[in-house]
């Protein structure tokens, strides 16, 4: 019964991570462990604001600690390329309150 998170199917795929402080980080999943710590390659952060379009900040190779992760989503490349990020206005996500 001690199987970790079923993230095996997402390895080497582009994923979108939402962290507990409300950040959205997109990258390629390279590894994970039982505590949902993840290794993300070619990652960039997408900063959403109501005043200007989505900002993409390049981060590179990242390790994100499992404690700080809310959602790991499989990014559909086709859907993502059809998005017009420069014209997207949104409030940043709220931080997680336990």
């Amino acid at each position: 019964m001690a199987t970790g998170p079923g993230l095996e199917s997402l390895v080497d795929q582009t994923i979108s991570v939402i962290t507990n402080d409300g950040r959205n980080i997109v990258g390629v999943l390279k590894g994970f462990d039982q505590a949902t710590n993840i290794i993300l390659d070619e990652s960039h952060e997408r900063v959403y604001s109501t005043k200007e379009g989505v900002q993409q900040l390049v981060l590179g190779l990242y390790i994100i600690r499992g404690d700080n992760i809310s959602v790991v989503g499989e990014l559909d490349e086709e859907l993502d390329s059809s998005l017009d990020l420069s014209n997207l206005r949104a409030h940043p996500l709220k931080p997680v309150i336990h």
Binding site: G6, I18, I69, S70, V71, E74, D76, L83, K94
Partner: protein, 128 residues
């Protein structure tokens, strides 16, 4: 720091401390059993459409694909409930949600046998 010799008076104190921590340990065991109960319950719900509301107010609707011992949830065919307010996951169709961040799991009304769940939890709480 020199260790205090175990005289009869010091052993008395340590016994009292042991008694004080016992209820807490039992409580944790009970919590563990209830989590196992809900794990089994969610395993039976695989394939149903649910809406997971997170502690950051994000609500994600999707088909329950799997659940694990930490009550982490994997959803397929996901749509964020208020997509205009939360366009952050527009290009995500399958996602993994960490159990620690779930506030509610909204179930279809016909998907719940309330009496069965009620009995099961009552039994667990009683220690049966």
């Amino acid at each position: 720091m020199p260790k205090k010799p175990r005289t009869p008076s010091t052993t008395q104190f340590s016994d009292q401390i042991l008694i004080a921590t016992k209820p807490r340990k039992l409580h944790l065991l009970l919590v563990r059993r209830i989590i196992v109960l809900f794990f089994s319950y969610f395993k039976d719900l695989v394939g149903r459409e649910v809406t997971v509301e997170l502690k950051n107010d994000l609500a994600i609707r999707g088909t329950l694909h799997s659940v694990d011992q930490y009550l982490n949830i994997k959803l397929e065919n996901t749509r964020v409930v208020d997509q205009d307010k939360y366009p952050h996951m527009l290009s995500v169709r399958n996602c993994f949600i960490r159990g620690s961040v779930v506030r509610y799991v909204q179930l279809p009304p016909d998907g719940v046998d309330i009496e069965l769940l009620h009995d099961a939890t009552r039994r667990e709480a009683r220690g049966g």
